[in-house]
């Protein structure tokens, strides 16, 4: 755009030079002008006085100089009046004076490409002789004055690239001589005035990049001389008027990025001069009219990003001048026609990505021998690539990703010497990379990821010395990384993750000095990092996780100052991590599960953008550096499973964005810093398996987003603060094995999302709060074992319908097992042992092992010994009325049954007597007992007896129960 403008002003200045020369010749005969208000010079000097002219473009505008020699002016042949003023690109600022209106002979006014501000003065409408008005590329604001419509001789009006707002004035329709109207790149709104149809001589209409809305006026069909219609990047809606087809002169039509809907009118096929058609980014639907094939002059066609459907009816054999076809991001179906291309086709770019096209690789395309770029990605193409692919000798980009292509890459691909980009990822390609690939000297990108390719990475690939990007992630490549990889001096991306590569990293890799991303994770690579890595000065990401790398890191790695992401987790690296601290741009450092030792370098805190620091499961010693508190972006801090000592630095509470703080399984000591409670984003806090003492800080109740709170296996004492109830999102709460005392705070019932609660192995006392029964999402476990709880088990615990494991063993609980426990239908591990419970074990528990109930006072019933009469009585006495009713019912029913049976037996006996068969009675007795099962059929319930139900439920999870029981006994 700028380029064109510069050309413009250059041309203008050349003309100007000629003019000045001519003037110089006639200068001597011209009388110096007299300054009075009727002359142009008077007004021009007034105008000059209002302008800021830092480049001195108006320097020779002075009363002593003949006006026709003034810079930028064109005079009439008789040297009396100024007819042209061209100050384009002169760096002038100020506003456009209304006094321009006094230059009444002016035919051309060009103030374009300056720094003019303010509005366009309406007085310009008085310049009745004006034919050309160029104000584009300034900082003009306000509206287009309607007086512009008075300029009846105006032929060229260009106001674009300003900050003009408001609507396009309707008076524009009066400019019947207008050939060029340009108002692009402003802030105009409203609709395109229908009066545009009055502009019979209009050749170019440029409305691009505004906020125009409404329909494209049908009246535009009257602009019969229109060659360029550009209205892209507006908010135009409605259909494309089919009347546009009558614009026979149209060569360029650009309506991209609007909200046009409906189908593409087939009348567009009448635009026989059209060379450029761009409708991308609208809401057009329906099929592409096959009539468009008659646009024989068309060179560029873009219909992408619409909702076009149907098959691809456009054919290059008809569109013989077509160079670019873009139909991406539509819903086109079917295959590409066999007549698509003919030899001699001019097609260079074909973009059909992200449609629903299917079929095999279109062999027809191989006739498009001028083609440079083919993008068929994101379709449903299948089958193998043709070996004759090398017919496309001009091909630079082959983009076939995200289809269902199969088979191996044809070796002939090595003959396409112009190939630069090869995108084949997301298909089902198999087989090896052909060694012929090494002949592609221009190849700069090869993306084969997400395929099923195998074999080794051919050494020949490293002959492709133009390569900048290699991505083979997610294949089955095996063997070593080619030793000669260092030949790829331009390589910036090497992504080999998730293959079966083995062997060491070749030392030559250090010579890929432009490398920015190196991803070798999820392979079987081994050995250590070669010292040559210190040459990779541009590298920002190295991921080596899930391999078998070992050894210590070369000291020289500290030269890598641009490192941002390092993930070496799950390897066997050892030694210190200081070599990784050369960069202060780290965002992720993950060294989980290695054998690193030494201290955690405090200099890590100089990477102020560090978000994830994961050093878990190594042999780090020393203290947690308090400098980590400077890491205000830190989101994840995992130092667990090391040998760290000392306190938790209270400075960590400055890491306000921290969500995961995992310091478990170290040898940390001291009290828990109450300031941790200010970490509002904290979701997971694990300080378990350390030597912390003191209280559980009540301030932790401030971490309102906390989901997992694990403080188990420490020496914490005092009471559980009631503020725990503020943690209403809490899922998992574990205080197991501390020295906590006092009662369970009743506020626990507010933790309604708790599904795992472990308070075992403490000195908690008092009764188990009734409120615990309100935590109805408890599911994984409720473990209160090995405390000093006393009193009766609250029957509210029977509400924990989802609870799968309940352990309240080793307490001093008394009384009976509540009836309500029969509702604990999800329970599959139960431990009530070592308490002072007595009475009948609910029948629903009879499937649990003996160990669930051992060492109580007088528990009885299955699986323990049967209860004595007294126990049963005692149990029954709880609900005398019910029992009475049941007894009455039983008595009545059994009497009835007895009577019925007596009757039946009598009948049978009678029959037997009659038949007089001498058989023994035992068989009969047995049959009757078996028949006894059928009573269910007659009973009002249609479920079997409760006892049966229990036996079936318990046997479901018997193996699990045993395992869990063992686990429980091993705790101490």
């Amino acid at each position: 755009m700028r380029l064109i403008r510069i050309k413009h002003s250059a041309m203008a200045s050349i003309c100007m030079c000629h003019f000045i020369l001519q003037l110089a010749i006639v200068f001597t005969v011209v009388v110096p002008p007299i300054v009075d208000s009727n002359t142009d010079s008077y007004w021009l000097l007034r105008i000059k006085s209002q302008l800021i002219d830092p480049l001195g473009a108006l320097k020779n505008w002075s009363p002593t100089t003949p006006i026709c020699s003034w810079n930028g002016l064109t005079c009439e042949v008789d040297q009396t009046r100024v007819i042209g003023l061209n100050l384009s690109g002169s760096g002038i600022s100020g506003s456009i004076s209304h006094e321009f209106s006094h230059l009444i002979s002016l035919q051309a006014l060009d103030l374009s490409s300056n720094l003019f501000t303010g509005s366009i003065p309406s007085e310009l409408g008085q310049l009745q002789n004006l034919r050309i008005l160029l104000l584009y590329s300034n900082y003009l604001s306000g509206v287009i004055p309607s007086e512009i419509g008075n300029l009846s001789k105006l032929q060229v009006l260009r106001l674009g690239d300003n900050m003009l707002a408001g609507e396009i004035t309707r008076s524009i329709g009066n400019l019947s001589e207008l050939t060029v109207l340009g108002v692009a790149n402003c802030n105009l709104n409203g609709s395109i005035p229908v009066e545009v149809g009055n502009l019979k001589h209009l050749v170019s209409l440029d409305l691009q990049v505004n906020r125009l809305s409404g329909f494209i006026p049908r009246e535009i069909q009257a602009c019969e001389e229109l060659q360029n219609f550009a209205a892209s990047n507006n908010m135009l809606e409605g259909e494309i008027p089919s009347s546009i087809g009558s614009l026979k002169s149209l060569r360029i039509m650009n309506l991209a990025n609007n909200s046009l809907s409906g189908s593409i009118p087939s009348s567009l096929s009448l635009l026989s001069n059209l060379t450029y058609l761009n409708l991308l980014g609208n809401k057009l639907n329906g099929e592409i009219p096959s009539e468009l094939n008659s646009l024989s002059q068309l060179q560029k066609l873009d219909l992408s990003r619409n909702n076009l459907s149907g098959s691809l009816t456009l054919l290059n054999i008809k569109l013989q001048n077509l160079e670019t076809m873009v139909l991406s991001d539509n819903a086109l179906t079917g295959s590409i026609s066999s007549k698509f291309c003919l030899t001699g086709s001019k097609l260079q770019q074909l973009f059909l990505s992200r449609n629903k096209l299917s079929g095999r690789f279109p062999l027809e395309l191989l006739n498009c021998n001028s083609i440079q770029q083919v993008d068929l990605s994101g379709n449903r193409f299948e089958g193998e690539l043709p070996s004759s692919l090398d017919k496309l000798q001009n091909l630079t980009d082959l983009v076939l990703n995200n289809n269902s292509f199969t088979g191996s890459l044809p070796p002939e691909i090595g003959n396409i010497s112009s190939l630069k980009s090869l995108f084949l990822f997301g298909n089902f390609f198999t087989g090896k990379i052909p060694v012929e690939i090494g002949r592609l000297k221009s190849l700069n990108t090869i993306y084969l990821y997400d395929n099923q390719m195998s074999g080794s990475i051919p050494r020949e690939l490293t002959n492709c010395t133009s390569l900048t990007g290699i991505d083979f992630f997610g294949n089955h490549f095996s063997g070593p990384i080619p030793e000669t990889i260092g030949r790829l001096k331009h390589l910036t991306i090497l992504h080999l993750r998730q293959n079966d590569l083995s062997g060491p990293i070749p030392p030559s890799m250090g010579y890929c000095k432009r490398l920015q991303l190196l991803a070798l994770a999820d392979n079987k690579l081994s050995g250590s990092i070669p010292p040559t890595f210190s040459y990779l000065s541009q590298i920002s990401t190295i991921t080596l996780y899930n391999n078998s790398f070992e050894g210590s890191l070369p000291d020289s790695l500290s030269l890598l100052r641009n490192l941002k992401i390092i993930n070496f987790s799950n390897n066997k690296f050892s030694g210190t991590i200081f070599p990784l601290t050369g960069s202060n741009s780290l965002t992720v450092l993950d060294l989980t599960n290695n054998s690193f030792s030494g201290s955690i370098p405090s200099i890590l805190a100089s990477s102020r953008d560090l978000t994830r620091l994961r050093l878990a499961n190594n042999y780090f010693t020393g203290t947690i550096p308090s400098e980590l508190g400077h890491l205000t972006e830190l989101n994840f801090l995992d130092l667990s499973l090391n040998n760290l000592t000392g306190h938790v630095p209270p400075q960590l509470s400055n890491c306000k964005k921290i969500e995961h703080l995992l310091l478990n399984n170290n040898r940390l000591s001291g009290e828990l810093p109450p300031l941790l409670g200010s970490l509002q984003e904290l979701g997971e806090l694990d300080l378990s398996f350390n030597n912390f003492h003191g209280r559980v800080p009540a301030e932790l109740g401030g971490c309102s987003k906390l989901l997992k709170l694990s403080l188990h296996h420490n020496n914490l004492s005092g009471e559980i603060p009631p503020e725990i109830g503020n943690l209403t999102s809490l899922n998992v709460f574990n205080l197991q094995r501390n020295s906590l005392s006092g009662i369970i705070p009743l506020t626990i019932q507010q933790c309604t999302k708790l599904y795992e609660l472990r308070l075992s192995e403490n000195f908690l006392s008092g009764a188990i709060p009734v409120e615990l029964g309100g935590v109805t999402e408890l599911q994984v476990i409720l473990d209160l074992s090995r405390n000093l709880f006393s009193g009766e088990i609250p029957s509210s615990l029977g509400n924990l319908m989802k609870l799968e494991r309940l352990d309240i063993s080793f307490n001093q609980l008394q009384g009976q097992i509540p009836h309500s426990f029969s509702q604990l239908t999800s329970l599959h591990v139960l431990n009530l042992s070592h308490n002072h419970l007595h009475g009948l074990i609910p029948s629903t528990f009879s499937g649990f092992p003996l160990s669930s109930f051992l060492n109580n006072d007088h528990l009885c019933g299955p699986p323990l010994a049967l209860c004595s009469e007294e126990t049963v009585k005692e149990r029954m006495s709880l609900s005398n009325a019910q029992v009475a009713a049941i007894i009455v019912a039983i008595v009545l029913t059994s009497t009835l049954i007895c009577l019925v049976m007596l009757y039946i037996m009598l009948r049978i006996w009678c029959n037997w007597i009659k038949v007089a068969i001498s058989s023994e009675d035992g068989v009969m007795v047995e049959q009757k007992t078996r028949n006894g099962e059928y009573w269910n059929m007659n009973s009002p319930e249609w479920f079997p007896s409760p006892d049966k139900q229990n036996s079936s439920t318990t046997c479901i999870c018997n193996p699990k129960i045993d395992a869990e029981a063992r686990e429980n006994t091993l705790v101490r």
Partner: protein, 212 residues
């Protein structure tokens, strides 16, 4: 002449695929779920698809092999639909989605969750049928589908679930008869309340989807 040719062609080249980000199918499946959901309380904020696996995402729990075993979105004020991708969580044991505003059908693909122990979909607005594929959930012990808008009959395939201990479909719009085979003989009446059932199945007398 002002320049009129837009740069759309050139932009298309910028569309070119960038590097593959992640392979973890479980993370991708969960991220696909996230993209379907409206999440006013930002409970899914930590679900960053660029991480190696989803194991550090909140409301997701993994086992020691970094396989997702729990998804906890109960009572989280999320709405939207479930998609087929959830079926890729091959190791999932606990699917906890109760008390939200989930709508649409329960995807057939949930039947592929072969490790699933507990499915809590209650108190939502799920509609359509109970997928027959649930008959493949061999490890399932707890299935709570109550308080939804489910229709159709109880698939007989569910009677093959020998581990099933808890089955609750109360407060739906289910029809047909209630199975009595397999573990269904032990489920209480309350599990079937407030539907349009015709009572327990009477073998050989009426088809199980009678009245549907």
């Amino acid at each position: 002449m002002e320049p009129f040719i837009s740069l759309s062609f050139i932009f298309l080249f910028l569309h070119y695929p960038t590097l593959s980000l992640s392979t973890n199918s479980e993370g991708n499946a969960l991220h696909a779920l996230r993209s379907r959901l409206s999440d006013p309380n930002n409970v899914l904020q930590s679900w960053d698809p660029t991480l190696v696996n989803p194991c550090t995402w909140f409301h997701v729990t993994c086992d020691s092999n970094n396989h997702v075993i729990r998804l906890d979105l109960g009572n989280s004020n999320v709405s939207g639909t479930l998609g087929p991708e959830l079926g890729q969580l091959q190791h999932l044991q606990y699917l906890v989605l109760y008390r939200n505003d989930f709508t649409g059908k329960i995807p057939e693909e949930l039947g592929n969750l072969k490790s699933l122990i507990s499915m809590d979909l209650y108190d939502n607005r799920f509609e359509g049928k109970i997928p027959k594929s649930f008959g493949k959930l061999k490890s399932l012990k707890f299935m709570r589908l109550n308080n939804n808008n489910l229709t159709g009959s109880i698939p007989r395939e569910l009677t093959r679930l020998t581990d099933l201990k808890m089955f609750d479909v109360s407060n739906n719009d289910l029809c047909g008869t209630i199975p009595i085979e397999g573990n269904f003989e032990s489920f209480p009446m309350e599990s079937f309340e407030n539907n349009r059932f015709n009572g327990p199945e009477l073998k050989g007398l009426v088809p199980y989807d009678f009245g549907c």
